[in-house]
């Protein structure tokens, strides 16, 4: 599937911003199942300085610095991406989940680097409640694919999608307590649950095309940034799981960046110098199949 993505982020301030430094993760990744056909990021006002670099996880990070006094900052990313339907090896997905823990698979070439994603990260800790929640599905010897898909189904069923139920500082325990959240919360909760059992899981940031196929229901998550999880499958790549929409990844998911958690790959973050008291944020995303 070919998708055309426009992602506009606008900050408006009530006073002049005299210095602004930003980091953006807005460039989709080139992957075996995903090709970036066209891409550009425009920043207004024009930055004094900008550059791109490849980060620790292979994502493209855009840095910019601007010193033109401004009250509006506009960052627009435009991408055209071709995505294939994911093909996962049923044999690899059929291993007992215990054998999918990188710590016990030194025989698999990328196990050592996958191990990074099996550990707690700054805002994705592993409270006992998360461990217990996943234990219900991770029964001894159960095939990996089946077990983790069930965790995904349960998170979808047990947690309400509710903006404002959580904040950027909410912990995994908070989300478990509230039984509600947004896609980042569900993705990070899934990470915490599965990692606490030794599985390696990526946090993935991207977009979801929501144009409903004929005769099917409209999918939640229309025209927005999106986040999901992807589980390491020994010798078989990564299995994407979207607990928000209760489905594994497919050709409608645009992968932009991945890391340990949201804070590794936020679409845009920055530091400003200003006397302004307030700022407002507007985000608009269009994902159009072409």
């Amino acid at each position: 599937m070919r998708l055309d993505v426009t992602h506009r982020t606008t900050y408006t301030y009530d006073d002049d911003v005299t210095g602004s430094y930003g980091i953006a993760y807005l460039t989709p990744r080139d992957l075996p199942w995903q090709r970036v056909v066209a891409h550009q990021v425009d920043v207004d006002p024009e930055p004094l300085d900008r550059s791109t670099d490849v980060d620790h996880y292979g994502n493209t990070a855009t840095y910019f610095q601007l010193d033109t006094p401004h009250r509006t900052l506009d960052v627009v990313a435009h991408s055209v991406v071709e995505i294939d339907e994911p093909v996962l090896d049923p044999v690899a997905l059929g291993v007992p989940w215990e054998q999918a823990r990188p710590s016990v698979r030194p025989d698999v070439p990328d196990a050592w680097s996958a191990l990074d994603l099996a550990l707690a990260s700054p805002s994705v800790d592993q409270p006992a409640a998360a461990h217990a929640y996943a234990a219900t599905s991770l029964t001894p010897g159960r095939p990996l694919g089946e077990a983790v898909l069930e965790v995904m189904h349960r998170v979808h069923a047990d947690f309400a999608y509710e903006q404002g139920a959580t904040t950027v500082t909410s912990t995994i325990a908070d989300v478990l307590e509230a039984r509600a959240g947004v896609c980042q919360d569900f993705a990070q909760l899934t990470l915490s649950c599965l990692r606490s059992h030794g599985l390696a899981v990526r946090y993935v940031s991207g977009y979801l095309a929501t144009e409903p196929p004929p005769g099917k229901e409209r999918v939640v998550g229309a025209d927005a940034t999106h986040a999901w999880a992807a589980v390491w499958v020994p010798g078989g790549g990564w299995l994407a799981l979207d607990p928000t929409n209760d489905q594994p990844g497919n050709e409608r998911y645009v992968t932009v960046a991945w890391g340990r958690e949201y804070s590794d790959v936020p679409p845009l973050k920055g530091v400003i110098f200003t006397e302004a008291k307030t700022s407002t944020l507007a985000v608009a995303v269009d994902v159009v199949p072409v």
Binding site: T9, D53, A222, Y262
Partner: protein
């Protein structure tokens, strides 16, 4: 008997001190640094001259007192996290090591720095040590010091470690082992130099005769290494030392190192990233920075990509590093090496990375993320020290059960270490010399293409795990003709060549330095006058002198608000003592001194050591007053404090007359203006009868150091007109408002932001006009008991002066706003 012989005979007894924790006969003996197993002196001490061996306990106690005075004079402090700053402690007896003692350390430390450097370069690049299983990946991935923003394919620095520290100690067999590595921003070099400086002064004979390696050349080598660390094609590199500020626990160490190296000490807010390079704000100009010796821990260095709440860093710093436009020493991310869980793998790492055997072993340590190691450690749990691999868990605060639960939940975040009995050395404490265990912090520098350990270091005297004092470390030369530090050709440090930049923060500190110094001086003079009156009239509160005293105390109370009881004669002393000593009381002398000291700490590298010596004198005067409750002590201590302040003025007068000095003097002149106006406002605006006024006017003249001038000019007859004339309008009296306005005008005009028409200059011109236009004769007429014209005039002057102060700060001391996050996008969407 002499100290060392006493010590030798005590330590040499069969009942030598044993490991404290264990039963006396089971625990191993400690290695003694001075005395061997037979009770005779070790070779290093045998070669010391007789002067060392004959030192008596009386001499040693005197030396200890001298050390206390020197450290006080130099303002050497250390602050434990969460505690107020305390005096740095230094034991008089150095740790003396022979060339033979040192030899295994020298090769071992050089290799270790090479190994740590190679390890860091590998972890930030190919990570072969993880991929090939030399180190379990979780040892590194679980460590908070592993900065993924620094470990990127495009930014591989092959020499990220330039200056490292390694803590070593000696086992009962006398072998050196590594206890910990300090690789990110090692502290202690400044303290080590200060220790050497002090010991060389208090034990001059012993020091001269010892034939030990001087530390100076090592410092010169550090300077040279930092200069050469600059990105290529920079002819005259600018090196700065980045500090978290004077509240940092090792603020002294940082400032002392910076000034010894001749590099400016800066804070994050003094720097800015522009076009991918780092610049320093100097008088509205930006000057390029090429090398940053950092003492700020990595997470706080860049709020854009690391901790977003940090006010200590520079947004964009990582980007500048990635572009290679600035070099940070040591590299961001080097904190990953400060990990006890790496110690069990060092031998394998050395084979893997350097292809040679590890020379210097580590203290036996295991990583508890290894299930076998955890099981073994559980068997002898009480004999081991459990450590967090990255200090993210404060294990000392956890009870045994809680700690065990934490370890079992996340074993990979912990390591367990043996607790050997470290070597002991004589320490003077409580008037007696007793053996106490010691550990040694060593420093290793990349110099040219190899690593060189400093011949010397910083020894800690330990009580359990806590450092309670320090020792200078003497490494003796093998032969007298050996060059110091083995460095014959290193260039001398030319600290005069570095022009210290005056960033706005530094100017602000200097401005307040000037103001607090003047405020303390004026308050002291008023205290002296009040106390002299109290000596004569405290018993007669309704006499003319008693009333004058009350008025002066009212003026003092206005300047130094606090409890005041005008009735009781006893309370005069109590109140004056409080004005001198109560640091909590706003504008008290103690408060001004504390603020003065705070300002001075912030700009330590700008000030001569004489400034800190003056602080030492005033602190001793305050201690004396605190300890003696007789009345005369008030005057005696106040006079000593005043003497200390005058010494301080002497020290600042001999500063280079640059913008910093102009700013300091401007602050001083402005405060003097404010003080003289305030004093007049509280004293001579009311008529109290000729006898009271006689005492009062005399007191005002004495407090303003103008009594002699007045006598000479007005033949002793003090009238309000002459007094006001002398203190407000006289252009020649150094204490008058008019004189100080002129002084202020001169200093302001010398500052780069002054244009002749800047706001502070215009306000000052107006103020001078106002003073010159006013005829004193029009001010003094009386209505009832008061002088309304004088009151109005003085109030107007105060408001006008405060406006000048505000304009001055706005024009000359403006600092950048603090950075803040512009929020994270993409949150709350799907």
């Amino acid at each position: 008997m002499t100290v060392l012989r006493d010590y030798a005979s005590e330590v040499g007894q069969p009942t030598r001190p044993r490991e404290r924790e264990g039963p006396p006969d089971a625990a191993p003996a400690r290695y003694d640094e001075v005395v061997d197993a037979d009770g005779s002196l070790r070779p290093a001490w045998r070669t010391l001259a007789a002067s060392a061996l004959e030192i008596t306990d009386v001499q040693l106690r005197r030396v200890q007192r001298d050390i206390g005075r020197f450290l006080g004079d130099d303002g050497v402090t250390y602050r434990r996290p969460g505690e107020p700053g305390s005096r740095w402690r230094l034991d008089p007896l150095p740790l003396v090591l022979s060339a033979q003692d040192w030899a295994p350390l020298e090769v071992g430390l050089a290799q270790r720095a090479e190994l740590l450097n190679a390890l860091l370069a590998d972890l930030h690049g190919p990570r072969s040590v993880l991929a090939q299983g030399v180190v379990p990946p979780a040892v590194v991935y679980a460590h908070q010091g592993f900065l993924r923003v620094a470990a990127r394919p495009g930014t591989v620095d092959d020499r990220p470690l330039l200056l490292t520290a390694t803590d070593v100690a000696r086992t009962p067999a006398g072998d050196w082992v590594v206890v910990a590595d300090r690789t990110q921003a090692p502290s202690g070099l400044g303290y080590a130099m200060e220790n050497r400086h002090v010991i060389s002064r208090v034990l001059p004979q012993m020091y001269r005769d010892a034939g030990l390696h001087q530390v100076g050349p090592f410092l010169q080598a550090v300077r040279s290494t930092l200069m050469q660390a600059a990105p290529e094609h920079v002819d005259d590199p600018r090196v700065v030392v980045l500090t978290p500020g004077s509240a940092s626990e090792t603020a002294f160490d940082q400032a002392h190192l910076a000034s010894s190296l001749g590099f400016p000490l800066v804070q994050g807010s003094d720097l800015v990233v522009r076009s991918g390079a780092v610049w320093m704000r100097v008088f509205g100009r930006l000057e390029r920075v090429d090398v940053i010796l950092r003492r700020v821990d990595a997470p706080w260095c860049d709020p854009l990509e690391l901790r977003g709440d940090s006010q200590l860093g520079v947004p964009g710093l990582l980007e500048a590093v990635r572009r290679g436009s600035v070099r940070i020493v040591n590299g961001l991310g080097s904190g990953v090496l400060e990990n006890p869980a790496l110690l069990p793998y060092m031998a394998r790492l050395c084979e893997h990375l350097l292809d040679e055997p590890l020379r210097l072993p580590s203290v036996p340590t295991s990583w508890l993320g290894d299930p076998d190691a955890l099981a073994l450690a559980r068997e002898r749990w009480d004999e081991l020290a459990v450590r967090s691999i990255d200090r993210s868990v404060d294990v000392d605060r956890l009870g045994p059960a809680e700690l065990l639960a934490r370890v079992q939940a996340e074993p990979h975040r912990f390591a367990a270490q043996e607790l050997p009995a470290w070597s002991q050395a004589p320490r003077l404490a409580g008037g007696a010399v007793r053996p106490q265990s010691v550990a040694l912090r060593t420093f290793t520098l990349r110099y040219g293409s190899s690593y060189r350990p400093m011949l010397g270091g910083l020894a800690s005297v330990l009580d359990g795990a806590r450092s309670v004092s320090s020792k200078d470390v003497w490494v003796l030369k093998d032969t007298p003709d050996q060059p110091d530090q083995g460095l014959a050709e290193v260039l001398a440090v030319t600290s005069s060549s570095s022009v210290t930049p005056l960033v706005p923060r530094v100017l602000e500190d200097l401005f307040w330095f000037g103001r607090y110094a003047e405020r303390a001086e004026d308050t002291l003079r008023l205290v002296l006058v009040a106390h002299a009156l109290a000596e004569d009239f405290r018993a007669r509160p309704y006499s003319a002198g008693g009333v004058a005293l009350r008025v002066l105390r009212g003026a003092l109370l206005h300047q130094v608000p606090g409890p005041y009881d005008a009735g009781d004669g006893e309370s005069v002393d109590a109140d004056l003592r409080s004005v001198l000593l109560d640091v909590e009381r706003s504008a008290s002398v103690a408060h001004s001194f504390a603020a003065l000291r705070g300002a001075a700490e912030g700009v330590r590298d700008q000030l001569s050591v004489d400034v800190f010596r003056a602080f030492g004198a005033t602190e001793r005067a305050a201690a004396l007053l605190d300890a003696n409750d007789h009345s005369l002590q008030v005057t005696e201590s106040a006079e000593r404090m005043l003497t200390g302040l005058l010494a301080l003025h002497g020290a600042t007068a001999s500063m280079v007359h640059d913008e910093g000095w102009e700013t300091l003097e401007a602050g001083r002149a402005l405060e003097r203006c404010l003080q003289v106006v305030a004093l007049l406002r509280r004293t001579v605006t009311v008529r109290r009868g000729i006898d009271v006024d006689r005492h009062l006017h005399q007191g005002v003249l004495t407090a303003t150091e103008s009594a002699i001038t007045h006598r000479r000019r007005y033949r002793g007859f003090v009238r309000v007109t002459s007094l006001v004339e002398l203190l407000l309008a006289d252009p020649a009296n150094p204490r008058s408002l008019r004189f100080n306005l002129e002084t202020l005008r001169r200093h302001v005009a010398a500052l780069p932001a002054s244009t002749g028409a800047s706001r502070p200059e215009r306000l000052l011109d107006d103020l001078v006009d106002e003073v010159d236009r006013t005829h004193v004769a029009e001010l003094v007429p009386i209505e009832g008991e008061s002088r309304p014209n004088l009151e109005r005039h003085l109030d107007s002057l105060t408001i006008h002066l405060l406006r000048v102060a505000e304009a001055f700060a706005g024009t000359h001391l403006a600092t950048a706003p603090t950075p803040r996050a512009f929020g994270l996008s993409g949150r709350g969407t799907r």
